[in-house]
Amino acid sequence: MSDAKKFLYLNRKAPYGTIYALESLEVVLIGAAFEQQVSLAFVDDGVYQLMAGQNTKGSGFKNFSNTYKALGDYDVRNLYVEKESLDERGLSVDDLMPITHDTDDEEDLPSIMVVSRAEMAKVMSEQDVVLSF
């Protein structure tokens, strides 16, 4: 794993209005097979991808929000959410889906980490590859 690269998927768009959230998730799932160090960042309207209670019955879309909850099964454990983006939109972490993962030692560890803009900048600066959607 020492030659594994750090991949960050940067999500800045709400789901359904454009296809980027869904197709970003498809890359994440495929990418999991490559055993790289994967993190997801949710900034600006991207935080809406993690909203609890998404209901697409009336709009004709496939509701893919449950896929985020399964990311732990793909060893994707780091979902960084920018606090400023939540605040600007009148949201808090309580509005987001509970997303957890298991490690060898512990179960149901939270995957979502709410970080400040400064902390997010640091996370981004530690990556080898940033894929933007």
Binding site: R12, V43, E84, R117, A121, S125, S132
Partner: protein, 102 residues
Amino acid sequence: MSTLHTVNKSPFDGTSLSSALGLALPGDAVLLIEDGVVGARKGSSAAKAIEASLASCKVYVLGPDVAARGMKAEDLVSGVESVDYAGFVDLAANHARTQSWL
């Protein structure tokens, strides 16, 4: 090593520029391309944010995109540098990663 941030949206059309400037670290470079170049116009409401960022970051515009939108070098916030596509390639090569604020 530092990051090259590219911004291809007008600051009048979303948060790409403000997010890029807000998340750029000292020593990073921000390159405005496509409609993003309108943010570098002197006297625009985005100019103050660009000027503030110039204290810790380099800010560039893609010259051909500036010209295509009827702007000239003297229309840009002072301190903003213009590059051509070869210069864009150099910026991407000289920073550890490129982050596109789409």
